[in-house]
């Protein structure tokens, strides 16, 4: 195959890939886009095999089949709430592949080979190994196998920077080492140091910051692939890696913006002060024990205001014309999305309009909430992005908050100096009435009290969101 034809084929494959991404505008198009991207990758593999051939076919075949089967099996079994953990795990698998490829190539390459190749290999090794361990930690946290709260070691930033510096020194040493055995030894130490780096990096990041971490790891997995591409001089690897890196960067940026935090603040743990009082809340006489995931014995807690909150919620919904539902991760935890569907059908059956307002950081990864609602059979044309729907709250009769807190906290607008000040929120407080189905009255992840709970037109249904909605549905039917 001549050089020109080879380049042409590479470009065609990249064009198919780009076309696939271009189709990600609507869910229907995205289905084709996904298939197009899969085709591009299959072609890339086929072309590679044709160009280079394989020596130990049986080893490759067995490894490929085992990996493919495991991937397929896991992908078919995973539930939508497990998606973030699964995606994080996959980032990790990609990281392993990247650093192993870099390692083998670095073992083969001679010390006088092009510097750029060796440098890229070492960087790919570092990023790949770091992505692997960072993703494993993220996946463990998301799957609740590890504690979700940030783990902060004494002098965490010093440790982090020290590990990074050590990795750089090892990288430079491996680059200049001429003896293959010493070089290999240094590279192996570098892998371990990078693994520690990933661990230190990830353990500090807590539950609600996960969307940033997972997006960032998406970008680094792509970057690792691109660096691998440089060492083996493969344009397809570079192109695919760059595309993924671009995607991960965008998502990271979107997530940070939606949380009103800079990337640096998320990663170096400049976590806002733990608790900020926003208003003088009425005496905290009512205290709800909010063991997460606990049983919902206390689903109908006493509301400080007059009347049974379920009855008030029901009469508010009966009188409503327009309802906007605001789901948060609490809905996913309570698996209340199916109850939300039931309520939606009930309200629509009574001639009311129901829409959903999705905050960009609701859930544990970008767009997670949309997938959960789609799984519950809620049509996607009822799901609206924050900017699309925020103008409609003032003409809405009932805003129904299900397991969300910070994303509807008006303190973000009204109060200066809180961690969420300036964060874009959903304007639930502008609706005529707000029904809140949250586990308890505690502040959300940011630690900022939510003045919405004190508002006159708020109806508070504390407890398991599924049980609260169930009660409302039963009463509405009656």
């Amino acid at each position: 195959m001549s050089n020109g034809t080879g380049l042409f084929i590479d470009l065609v494959i990249i064009a198919i890939l780009v076309f696939g991404i271009r189709l990600f505008r609507t869910p229907g198009g995205a289905r084709h886009g996904n298939l197009a991207a899969a085709l591009a990758l299959a072609l890339a593999v086929a072309v590679t095999l044709m160009r280079h051939g394989l020596v130990q076919t049986e080893v490759v075949l067995i490894a490929a089949l085992v990996g493919a089967f495991a991937g397929w099996l896991v992908a078919m079994r995973v539930t939508m709430i497990q998606i973030p953990a699964m995606v994080a795990f996959q980032h990790g698998a990609g990281g392993v592949a990247a650093f192993l490829v870099a390692l083998v190539e670095l073992m083969r390459i001679s010390a006088d080979a092009a510097a750029i190749g060796r440098i890229s290999g070492i960087i790919g090794l570092l990023i790949g190994a770091g992505t692997f361990s960072g993703s494993m930690i993220a996946s463990g946290k998301l799957a609740k196998k590890l504690r979700q709260t940030p783990v902060v070691l004494p002098r965490h930033n010093t440790i982090l920077l020290g590990t990074l510096a050590l990795a750089v020194v090892l990288g430079v040493a491996a680059f200049s080492a001429t003896d293959p055995a010493i070089r290999l030894g240094l590279l192996i130490v570098l892998i371990f140091v990078s693994i520690f780096l990933g661990v230190f990096f990830s353990i500090r990041i807590g539950g609600a910051d996960m969307p940033v971490l997972i997006s960032f790891l998406n970008a680094t997995a792509g970057l690792a692939a691109a660096f691998c591409g440089v060492i083996i001089q493969n344009k397809l690897l570079i192109a695919c890696g760059a595309t993924v890196a671009a995607s991960g960067s965008i998502l990271t940026h979107v997530m940070c913006k939606a949380m009103n935090r800079s990337l640096l603040k998320v990663f170096v743990g400049l976590k806002p002060a733990s608790k900020v009082k926003v208003e003088t809340a009425p005496a905290s006489a009512m205290h709800f024990s909010g063991a997460p995931g606990g049983d919902a014995a206390g689903s109908k807690e006493i509301d400080p205001r007059e009347g049974n909150p379920v009855d008030r919620a029901v009469s508010a919904l009966r009188g409503a014309e327009r309802v906007i539902v605001i789901p948060g991760y609490g809905m996913a935890l309570a698996q209340a999305q199916f109850k939300v569907l039931e309520l939606m059908n009930l309200l629509e059956g009574a001639g009311k309009t129901v829409k959903f307002a999705i905050h960009p950081v609701a859930g544990r990864m970008p767009g997670h909430m949309n997938v959960l609602l789609a799984e519950a059979d809620i049509p996607y044309d009822k799901l609206f992005e924050m900017d699309e729907i925020n103008g409609e709250f003032s003409e809405t009769d009932v805003a129904l908050v299900v397991g969300a807190c910070d994303v509807v906290n008006p303190a973000a607008i009204d109060v200066e100096g809180t961690p969420i000040s300036g964060m874009p929120i959903l304007m639930a407080h502008e609706a005529r009435q707000v029904i809140v189905c949250n586990l308890d009255e505690k502040p959300g992840y940011s630690g900022v009290d939510n003045p919405l709970y004190e508002s006159e037109n708020a109806i508070l249904l504390f407890g398991d969101a599924g049980k609260s909605l169930e009660a409302v549905i039963e009463a509405l039917k009656a």
């Binding site: 780009v18 690792a224 083996i232």
Partner: protein, 96 residues
């Protein structure tokens, strides 16, 4: 030097094209997008296959086989789960 230049321009060009296209993906599809790009990042499968383009030693072969396995896990798992996820999205009135 020529090689370095082509590789850099490949990286830059695809990064920029990807950036423009992806910034127009609605947030509705961000999860499937990440899951698909995650599968794409397993393009390192090419690198893993190239390990076996020449006769390998025991250690190289072992590392290469693991790389092939994890990359395949990533690529197949990523595309399958993206497909499953996208099938869940339905419009009003289009029940399957």
């Amino acid at each position: 030097m020529y090689e370095l230049f082509t590789m850099l321009s490949f990286f830059a060009a695809t990064f920029v094209i990807g950036y423009f296209l992806i910034s127009r993906v609605p947030s509705l599809l961000h999860t499937p997008l990440m899951s698909m790009t995650n599968a794409i990042s397993a393009v390192t499968i090419i690198g893993a296959l190239l390990v076996f383009a020449v006769r390998t030693g025991l250690i190289e072969g072992f590392l290469g086989a693991i790389a092939v396995m994890t990359a395949m896990f990533n690529v197949v798992g990523g595309f399958v789960i993206t497909h499953r996820m996208l099938k869940l999205f339905k419009k009003t009135g289009s029940r399957e």
